[in-house]
């Protein structure tokens, strides 16, 4: 009796020691160089693996921050204090200047966009996508407008207005839930300080855009010619703003013949 108890302890102990030694050896062989910043960030995080940041566990988030792909203030469990520490490690300022907000580069409201057919299916963007990878709108780049992003938004910052998703910048916290929810991946995060954004995604030639949408960017280059800072260029038949050059004057929004450049200026309230 006593013998078998001791035998059990010894056998399990030896087995455990062997596996431990093998694992220790394996961890040397399979050692992966980790960015020292990543290890530091990982230590600051709450460590609950709650997934509130949208990454697979704290390790995943720390890796994304260290690579510069994720904002420093995503750790929900850690809150402000953690965000401050992580920002310090990454050497970025932890203030509103780095805040991101969602933006939907499409202006194809129900009046503006030409329709291919009347859609009567479930009110869900993913379901609508099943009809040839786009909605009932003719434009292949358009916002489908059934509001998967609005359903995903926890902060009441996403609304469907006239069949297009619109962001309420005052409520948006830049969590990116809408970006993940959009099956067409047209929602994107832009810096909040960037006040000007062309609200169109169509990269087809102007004549084709004219056929499918009353307001889409036709690549007329007027904004490119008139921009005082050379910040807006037409690339792939689509006006694109370089936030590092843009002086936020709003001139392009005024002169755009299609009125699709969004300007979130001082008078911005809700759009």
């Amino acid at each position: 009796m006593i013998k078998s108890i001791f035998l059990a302890i010894i056998v399990l102990g030896v087995l455990g020691a062997i596996f431990g030694a093998l694992l220790a050896y394996a961890s040397k062989i399979f050692h992966v160089e980790v960015d020292p910043k990543q290890a530091q960030i990982r230590e600051c995080l709450a460590g609950a693996n709650c997934g509130g940041c949208g990454y697979p566990g704290c390790d995943g988030y720390a890796a994304a921050v260290a690579k510069g792909e994720a904002p420093t203030n995503r750790c929900v469990a850690g809150g402000e204090a953690t965000a401050a520490k992580v920002s310090e490690i990454m050497g970025v300022s932890n203030d509103a200047a780095d805040k991101m907000v969602a933006f939907v580069p499409c202006s194809g409201s129900l009046e503006a966009a030409e329709l291919r057919f009347n859609y009567n299916g479930p009110e869900d963007c993913r379901a609508a996508m099943l009809f040839g990878g786009r909605s009932s709108k003719m434009c292949t780049f358009a916002c489908i407008g059934f509001g998967n992003c609005a359903k995903a938004c926890q902060f009441d910052a996403m609304h469907i207005i006239d069949g297009v998703a619109r962001v309420d910048r005052l409520n948006c916290v830049g969590c990116g839930a809408c970006v993940d929810a959009c099956p067409k991946s047209i929602v994107k995060l832009i810096p909040e300080k960037q006040k000007i954004m062309p609200a169109c995604s169509n990269t087809e030639k102007g004549a084709q855009v004219m056929k499918v949408c009353k307001v889409g960017c036709i690549g007329c280059m007027k904004c490119q010619r008139e921009c005082p800072a050379d910040a807006i260029v037409v690339k792939d038949n689509l006006a694109q703003v370089d936030p590092s050059k843009c002086v936020q004057c709003g001139h392009c929004a005024d002169i755009c013949p299609r009125h699709i450049i969004s300007y979130f200026g001082p008078e911005y309230k809700n759009r």
């Binding site: 056998v11 087995l15 050692h31 992966v32 997934g51 697979p56 869900d124 993913r126």
Partner: protein, 194 residues
């Protein structure tokens, strides 16, 4: 011998499918079946761990535990093996296939607590399988798990678009569809090969 292996494989994949007829491994089956891609990754990892765990556990059981009259330690020793194995797989994937490692994420360490893996090694002992049979049973059991989770993930992807009463929203519809898929698999039950 070959016939025996064939009967074990078909039995593990279809007739006695781990999820649908033995109700083992239901938690990853429900938790990890939102998308077909994730489900397939999870299935592959389970196939790998089940196969290796069957082999190592058979050796430990037959050359250490049974000669020393310690068969009552089987469960403990097997859990030790599985935990170490999963840890090893995690390190291996992190080094060699970082893309799969990040795709599996938190589900990879969770295989440790997958009862289907412990189930397969304990069933190996219960059925008195020899080494080859054990390994075949482990791998095909994993394949059965993979088949089930991939099938179910594709069903779930579709239920998201379908029109069902609001009270079924979310988990209830998921459980109902799991039951329907399991009933389809009942068509295999009672079959006997050779």
């Amino acid at each position: 011998m070959l016939a025996n292996i064939l009967s074990i494989s078909l039995g593990a994949i279809l007739i006695n499918n781990f999820i649908f007829s033995q109700f083992l491994g239901c938690c990853p089956f429900l938790g990890c079946s939102n998308k077909v891609d994730t489900a397939a990754g999870m299935g592959l990892a389970v196939v790998f761990v089940m196969g290796l765990a069957s082999a190592i556990c058979w050796v430990i059981d037959n050359y250490i535990l049974i000669p020393l009259n310690l068969a009552f330690l089987e469960t403990l020793a097997f859990i030790l093996v599985i935990a170490a194995l999963v840890q090893f797989v995690e390190m291996f994937l992190k080094k060699s296939v970082p893309s799969l490692y990040s795709a599996l994420g938190i589900y990879l360490p969770l295989i440790t607590t997958n009862c289907a893996v412990l189930g397969v090694v304990l069933l190996n002992v219960q059925n008195n399988y020899n080494f080859i049979e054990s390994v075949v049973y482990g791998i095909t059991g994993g394949l059965g798990f993979m088949l089930a989770i991939v099938l179910f993930a594709s069903v779930r992807e579709r239920t998201q678009f379908s029109d069902y009463p609001e009270c079924f929203e979310g988990f209830p519809i998921c459980l109902v569809s799991a039951a329907l898929v399991a009933m389809a698999f009942m068509g295999f039950s009672g079959m006997k090969i050779f």
